[in-house]
């Protein structure tokens, strides 16, 4: 890689291993020497935060799986046993349960950072697509995991979400029965959801490895969205980015700890403390907050099949973003028009989330329709059109140039 002479490792054991299996040189290349644009800001830390959240979820999930019983008669009480009898079981469960929210929070910011700074554009299209795939897998994992405590919300979430597939013409009902392994959400469903919830995180890990591999080919994007021109533009990953990411991670961790220890059920629906009852649906069922925007899209459309298509389309459209945006300029810093439409998109998504938590009645339905129209309009009309008509601001010559010029600007934080 670099022009430095080869003996990278002084430790003879490490050298011996590395000559036979270059694990250490690989790690060194990807996580120590990896040249990172020197102008990346704290929003670049959310990738590292999301990675650590994934590992934390897997670690706590493994411990919980050792105590959990995937059976309709025992699931709820095995969770109560975790909360009451298992040593630190309550801690592991609250970390895991709120970890899902924190993971999504980190990934949403990570995703939006990619949109704002155009990280999905050539040559990073595949990197972005793998990221959307991770997002999709996360949704499946979060959903199957939410079913496991077998409370009322678990049960009815499983029922409603699996019933989405009944919208498929001709074979919908058969698919739903296939998903359930029966004629309703029942023991076979719970059992397979447990298996899937256990399996999918490892699939995510595999895709994350590909995601990172695809990142390290072109290297990281940066807030200016311009190519790295020389070594002056970059810093080695360690200790520059590691120290920065650690700081972001600790701040994130403080927020996470406050939720886990002082408001462990704040993001939780109280009805999920009631054991599942297949004979009675709670009055007002809502998904977890991270699904609310998509739920609002589903409810905005009065036709069953079209609603389901819109719901899945809301996620699937992200796959096509690299090909919908024709602008050559990546960063919104240099896209004066697109920037405002993108911020409006964020407001729209948050608004949809809020609507998703409201009952399905007027005026929320009308508002949800308008917000859904903007959601899809943003991707299908605004993005392609602005890519052609917008006049971007002049780009800086190189990354190091504006950084060196504005050396006295306040720290980003």
């Amino acid at each position: 890689m670099s022009k430095n002479p080869p003996p990278l490792f002084r430790n003879p054991v490490v050298r011996w291993l590395d000559e036979r299996l270059p694990l250490f040189s690989m790690l060194r290349k990807e996580y120590i020497d990896y040249p990172t644009p020197r102008n990346v800001n704290y929003f670049w830390s959310f990738g590292a935060i999301a990675t650590l959240m994934l590992l934390l979820m897997i670690a706590t999930g493994l411990m919980l799986a050792m105590q959990y019983t995937p059976h309709v008669d025992m699931a709820f009480s095995s969770v109560q046993r975790i909360m009451r009898d298992v040593n630190y079981g309550w801690l592991l469960r609250t970390i895991h349960m709120n970890g899902a929210s924190m993971f999504f929070f980190a990934v949403y910011i990570h995703l939006y950072r990619g949109m704002y700074y155009g990280s999905y554009k050539k040559p990073r299209e595949l990197l972005w697509i793998l990221g959307v795939l991770i997002f999709l897998l996360m949704m499946a994992t979060a959903f199957t995991g939410y079913v496991l405590p077998w409370g009322q919300m678990s049960y009815w979430a499983a029922t409603v979400i699996t019933n989405l597939f009944s919208a498929i013409p001709w074979i919908g009902e058969d698919i739903v029965q296939f998903l359930w392994g029966g004629f309703s959400v029942d023991n076979p469903t719970l059992n397979r959801f447990f298996v899937l919830h256990f399996l999918l995180p490892f699939v995510i890990v595999a895709v994350v490895v590909l995601h990172v591999a695809a990142l390290h080919v072109p290297g990281s994007n940066n807030p200016d969205g311009i190519e790295v021109k020389s070594k002056r533009d970059t810093l080695p990953f360690h200790p520059y980015i590691t120290s920065k990411d650690s700081l972001a991670l600790i701040v994130f961790g403080i927020g996470y700890a406050v939720i886990v220890f002082y408001a462990p059920n704040y993001l939780n629906h109280p009805d999920n403390a009631i054991p599942a009852n297949p004979l009675s649906t709670p009055e007002h069922i809502v998904p977890e907050w991270y699904f609310l925007p998509f739920y609002a899209i589903l409810r905005a459309i009065p036709n069953k099949l079209l609603g389901v298509i819109a719901l899945f389309g809301g996620v699937a459209i992200l796959f096509f973003l690299p090909f919908l945006d024709r602008s050559k300029v990546r960063s919104c810093r240099y896209r004066p028009l697109y920037r405002w439409f993108l911020w409006l998109f964020v407001v729209d998504a948050v608004f949809l989330g809020w609507l998703g938590s409201k009952p399905a009645e007027e005026p929320y339905i009308l508002w949800a329709r308008l917000a859904t129209a903007y959601y899809f309009g943003f991707f299908l009309v605004i993005t392609p059109v602005l890519g052609i008509v917008e006049r971007p601001r002049p780009l800086p010559v190189s990354i190091s140039e504006p950084v060196l010029k504005t050396a006295s600007r306040p720290r980003a934080s």
Binding site: A59, T60, Q67, V86, Y88, P239, S246
Partner: protein
């Protein structure tokens, strides 16, 4: 050091020594503190510990009878020994045994011998609880897995077993009831 045209090198070792080490070790402490609850969750939980002691009523037992009770998931052998068996156990030259213990050290009431029915070799359950079962040459228990022989006091006498059968912690809460654990 001003930004040069070369990629920035590692800060020299002595400059990052203290803060770098402090940050890394704080992180390590944090990781260890997070790992502990995870590991501890695998230790016996409260409901398991709550079942860790059982009471056994010995009053229905007759001389010569053996019963097996389950304690912490393991068999516990209780035998109501005859006068002859007691004397045999007491007269044994215990100092020459591989795990020297007198019979008096192993019983609370010499009529009842209470031992965990797990062979100290590799954990099989020895025979000898039924009147008809093989008890071996020493009149106690016989482990068929690898041929270990125990006497009427549960002491290892022959075969690969290195230790005597374990005497669980127990107490007589009255003349005919014991609490194990």
């Amino acid at each position: 050091m001003p930004a040069s045209s070369k990629p920035l090198p590692f800060p020299p070792a002595e400059r990052r020594d203290f803060l770098g080490l402090l940050a890394a070790s704080t992180g390590a402490v944090g990781a260890a503190a997070l790992a502990w609850p995870m590991l501890d969750s695998m230790n016996p939980a409260k409901d398991v510990l709550a079942l860790a002691s059982i009471e056994v009523d010995l009053s229905p037992m007759e001389v010569g009878q053996s019963i097996t009770v389950k304690w912490r998931g393991k068999p516990v052998f209780i035998r109501y020994r005859s006068e002859e068996e007691i004397q045999q156990a007491e007269r044994t030259d215990w100092q020459s045994l591989r795990d020297p213990q007198s019979d008096a050290e192993r019983v609370k009431n010499s009529a009842f011998i209470v031992v965990v029915g797990i062979c100290t070799h590799l954990g099989c359950v020895p025979l000898g609880q039924k009147d008809t079962s093989e008890r071996g040459a020493y009149g106690g228990w016989f482990c068929p897995c690898h041929g270990s022989y125990y006497d009427g006091s549960g002491r290892a006498r022959q075969g690969p077993a290195p230790k005597n059968l374990v005497v669980p912690p127990y107490d007589f809460i009255d003349d005919t009831t014991i609490r194990i654990g």
